[in-house]
Symmetry: C2
Subunit: 191 residues, 2 copies
């Protein structure tokens, strides 16, 4: 017998197992967790990897790690937007694309819509998500605020990749002042 | 105007966009894709990374890359099983655990149940999945058969991590003879 607890043969146990399985199916919790856990692992792998090969953590090093994660996000964003828009022939304009990103794309990737979208109508957009999915696994206090940026690089890349495949080259940065809320700034590069 | 196509203001376009959004919502296709794309990126990052730092691809190198991916999978598996079983107090025996892995766990992680579970009743289990999720993005022919193993290391780790958190230490290996079908062998380590 290798199970962690002693065996219980009551119908109570069966019922309880059944309930738990049904609950998981309804909430789909593990699906989301699968992506989030993999994301966490990837961040820690990239950071551990670069640290061990260099031994120090100077600014150049930090930039290269962020750029690795951002690059991965970029390619994932490109792939995702291609699937999500394959039946939508075109968008009206830049703002229309941004609305799609904030609503449908954000819901698919980060499980909720952007709470607030602002623009100066000159190619700069600020997307605020008050409960950003990639930060909800971290503590809400100020304790881990300095750790937040490494969990945002991939997401910035995802947004940039999606926009790029829709014909908009951009620079995407993220900023956290209060966890788990996050502001993304998208600056469209006019060619 | 930065959108890829010329603007179209017809109601036809709106209708079509709406249809596509609804279709995506129903199938949940992008959610799965999100994990799969990230997995692909991670595999290629780990392989590229090790290659560039060494310049060659000998057996030791190959083993270390597989072990990096397996280790990531292990920790993801541990996290996932904890969520999935948090309301199930215990399992009857080892076989009961394996059935849970093949059915509920597999469905959550790899989107379908295991097609066939065999055991010698001495701690060795063979789980066959005829359409393994991590292989369906590769071509079905023989062309990429030699590429398959690197897309299985993470999954082996996921299974080993899940079993480990349920009190079963194991060795998990995977084998592909015809794509995208895959056989996992789980050997429980009797302590």
């Amino acid at each position: 017998m290798k199970s962690r607890s002693a065996p219980v043969y009551t119908s109570e146990y069966r019922k309880c197992l059944f309930t738990s399985v049904v609950a998981v199916r309804h909430t789909g919790m593990a699906d989301e967790a699968l992506f989030e856990f993999l994301h966490m692992e990837m961040v820690s792998h990239v950071y551990r990897d670069h640290q061990s090969s260099k031994g120090d953590t100077d600014n150049k090093d930090r930039a290269s790690r962020v750029s690795v994660l951002e690059g991965m996000g970029f390619r994932v964003g490109q792939g995702l937007i291609e699937r999500l828009t394959r039946d939508s022939p075109c968008f009206k304009d830049e703002l229309d694309i941004m609305k799609f990103i904030c609503k449908d794309f954000w819901t698919k990737v980060f499980r909720r819509q952007v709470d607030n979208l602002r623009t100066n109508h000159q190619g700069t957009y600020v997307l605020q998500d008050n409960k950003f999915a990639m930060l909800t696994q971290l503590s809400n206090g100020k304790q881990y605020l300095d750790q937040a940026p490494k969990y945002l690089a991939f997401s910035c890349g995802v947004v940039r990749g999606a926009l790029s495949n829709l014909g908009l080259e951009s620079v995407v940065t993220a900023e956290v002042s209060v966890m788990p809320s996050c502001k993304f700034q998208v600056v469209i590069q006019k060619l």
